[in-house]
């Protein structure tokens, strides 16, 4: 899932300072699952903002809503309706949601309520760990399913570096050295020889080279047209 973290309240307050009526808009997608932007958080943040504003002597009226997803125009269709009385919207969705709102509704003042962090897994209650960087050119078929791009701080392709000690990464010893794990797994599978090959430099175009990236499926576009 996309993992996000609530922004500091003072930042949100600063953004909405000029307004008296604000919509707090949650998303039931990833951010709800990582406890950052679902129904519950919408309620908490709205309340916190109201209290903070009351203390500042500038009471705030909040409207609360949570959409099924903010990354889909379909679910954003009734946003103007929700915004009837509000002057601005604080979106608790990931950056995708905020951007899409900004794209679709140039007149709506939308502010991010969360910082979007990474693609991660919820490894234990309250802990999310990055597992994928979305580089656009998956290589984990060769590394026993463990991604050195996302999980090695130097994204080495011919690792491990000399800082690997007792299976830990020198950059942050709380993390495993992912190359150590890759070697362990491949050794167990009798496939360590794979690593003797020199790994060519990565073609980064799929990641940053041609951003913003776009994915197109002609067949779906055509079908849609036909039906429409």
């Amino acid at each position: 899932m996309i993992v996000a973290e609530r922004r500091h309240l003072s930042e949100i307050l600063k953004n909405i300072e000029p307004y008296n009526k604000v919509l707090i808009l949650g998303c039931r997608g990833c951010v709800a699952i990582c406890s950052t932007g679902g129904d519950r958080e919408v309620e908490i943040i709205a309340t916190a903002l109201r209290i903070a504003r009351k203390r500042q002597g500038k009471p705030l009226i909040t409207y609360e809503a949570t959409l099924i997803r903010q990354c889909d125009p379909e679910y954003l269709a009734n946003l103007p309706e929700l915004m009837k009385d509000a002057e601005a919207v604080v979106s608790l969705a990931c950056g995708v949601g905020v951007n899409l709102i900004a794209d679709l509704y140039p007149d709506i003042r939308v502010y991010p309520g969360v910082d979007t962090l990474f693609f991660g897994a919820n490894t234990q209650l309250g802990v999310w760990q990055e597992k994928c960087r979305g580089c656009g050119d998956c290589i984990i078929d060769l590394t026993a399913g463990l991604c050195p791009i996302a999980r090695c701080p130097k994204n080495l392709l011919n690792g491990p570096c000399g800082g690997s000690q007792n299976g830990k990464c020198e950059i942050n010893p709380e993390n495993p050295c992912i190359w150590h794990l890759i070697i362990e797994r491949l050794t167990a599978r009798g496939e360590l020889d794979k690593l003797n090959e020199i790994w060519e430099p990565k073609d980064w175009r799929t990641y940053l080279g041609e951003s913003p990236r776009k994915r197109i499926r002609e067949d779906l576009i055509k079908n849609n047209k036909r039906e429409g």
Partner: protein
Amino acid sequence: METRSHLEKILKKGHFAVTCEMGPPKNADIEILKKKTKILKGYVDAVNITDCQTAVVRFSSFASAIIALSEGLEPVMQMTCRDRNRIGIQADLLGAWGLGIRNLLCLTGDHPKFGNHPQAKPVFDLDSIQLLSLVKGFKEGRFINGEEIKGEKPNFFAGAAANPFADPFEFRVKRLAKKVRAGAEFIQTQIVYDVERFKRFMELAEEEGLLDKVYILAGITPPKSFGMVRYMKYNVPGLMVPDELLKRMKEAKDPKEEGINIAVEIIQQVKEIPGVKGVHIMAIEWEEAVPEIVKRAGLHPRPMEPEIQPPFVVEKVVEVEKIVEKPVEKIVEKVIEKPVEVIVEKIVEKPIEVEKGLEGEEEMDKIKGVSIEFLIEMITNLKAGLKNLQSGMEHIEETLAEIEKQLLGRKPKKIEKVFRKIEEIPEKKVEKIAKEERKEKEIKEIKTEVKVEAKPEIKPEIKVEEKPKEEKEIRKPKKEIKEKVEDIGKTGFKGTYRDLKTRAEGLSEDLYIDKSSGKIVEVEIGKGEKAFKVGGTEVLPFYSFEGNTGQPLKIAMEILDIVPEDWPETLTKYFSDVFHDPGLWAKKCVEEYKAEAIGVYLIGTDPNFKNLDVKHAVEVVKKVKEAVDVPLIIWGSGNAEKDVEVLREVAEVIGDRGSVIGPIVEANHRTLGATAIGYDLPVVASSPIDVNLAKQLNILLENVGVNLDKILMDPSVGALGYGIEYTYSVMERIRIAALYAQDIKLQAPFICNVGREVWKTKEVGLPTDDLWGEAEMRGIMMEAITTVCLALAGGEIFIMRHPKAIELAKILFNSLS
């Protein structure tokens, strides 16, 4: 025989090669580089120029290599993948070849996290092996994208690093083989101290058939001090330091001399290992050691003079040459005349020798140890940010907790309880403090016995009905107080003690007893007869009715390393006869004022104050150590960088005494943590009045290897009227978390540096007047009350200054326990 560089020629002819490392300066001064070059010339076949080692910005390796070349010393330019993508790397390599650089060491590079610009975006477009392939591609006439190089092609003598000591061991040789296949023609290894393991690595390399394909140069670093080896042993991933070596350095009378001996011995041992074709000496910021090592190892004179083509740049600037020559000549003289000066200059330039010595190649580089400068910068920024956040966060946390309670009603009961406790306890304590104050004042008038041997179940308590009386008494004795400083010790507490059970008669015990489930660890301070322990409590301060209160509270008396400049006369009059000699001063504290421990505050070493050197600190500590046998608490100036230098040496002096050293802050926790482990000393872990920062520092120290039973937490205290309530609340929260929330990382005892905070306040220096009362008594009261407040918040060892304040505090402690 076709060779591209002098180094290659030496190796191909079968001579035992010697290279060393030269770290460029952190400024734009080429004279520094020239001086270093002069020192090394003639003793090594080539010199490695590091590429911003440990990710600290320096004079570029490319430019430094050109300077070395123009000075007649052949460079090995190091190139990392950290700061340049494949475009930048190729551009620089074309330029380097064009200007006459022939040797190239290909490295991945240290992560920016370890340097002084951790904010930087790491590049790592390529890794070291891909870089080697790139260089090989150049030889074959193509860029990394496959495009042909039309015209002059770089044909570097390419090298790489190898670390025989990192994990996984078996894969290390495979990775070496990969590097050789990718085009490495020579290898410089990580520092070899564990010769046996290195031998094993070389055997594996032979099995892989690598020894005929690549020249291997063993990495050699002369240890400079015991502190440095200890640091390397415990803090540098991928470096093995045998205990034997640690012992040798510890016992060495002249550690530098011993370090050189060790380097020479290792050179002689590795020379015998088949396949070792030379050595690579890494004595960064100690370049002077290199000629000595080379000479003693019998590797001087070098077999051949290099025939070096000066770089294109110098050729062009013929006219300027004269100007360049002159200063150079002068420098040579200087070097010859005053070698000591040169050394000093170097040390000043990079004060943290450990890292320096270590900084090296990048893979071997794992030595990084993290630059202290960068940590300091980071911490400063963090602190500023955190301060702003703190106030906001606290408010928000409370608000949110409240909201969750109200709106969601889901708050688990357990947590609610803790909340309530947090709210309730301060009230109780405030009440207690109020009583204490009254009692103190009462002391002056009424002489009674001190209840030192109060039973654990007994709690000081004054009947409610008595209160009005006491208050009246407070007003009356006002004037009397003025003259009674001397009486403090003679008086005690009045009051009948009734234990809680009696007072709470008719109530069931579970209504007022709430036993904790945690325990504060005990920390032993000092060694031998006078040693004592602090901590061990299982209850909130003075809650003897709930359980074991652990070790008694302790007070250390503070002395300075210089004559105090800003102490008021009311304090100096007790010590002015001994100010000149820290030894006598300490002795007076122990013999006359019965101090149980001495705190030595090395304030004079503060770079922003007198900036006295390490030698001064060592002398002071030596004197104190010899004069008294009570435990010592050595407190540095608080300058993270300077303290590393000072405390490392001081530890050497007081190591056998089990004295406390501090303050350790996040910025220097690695180096000082290692020092503490090496000498098995307890430490003061100082954090800026914050629960989470205190906890984080404890965790960091534990990661380094300092156990919790060696940590005294200094939460940063404030004096009465100077933020004591903030300190109080943070300490209380830490203690509640430790005892009731089983936050084991916070279960260390508190040390409170009270005297310093109190005696710098304005109030203690104001003269006697009617409104403010007698000056000395005011100071005493401020110090004693600050101490008692902090004891109520959980403090267990206090550093104080005024003898009478100490007496008073003890009376109050005794009557409370």
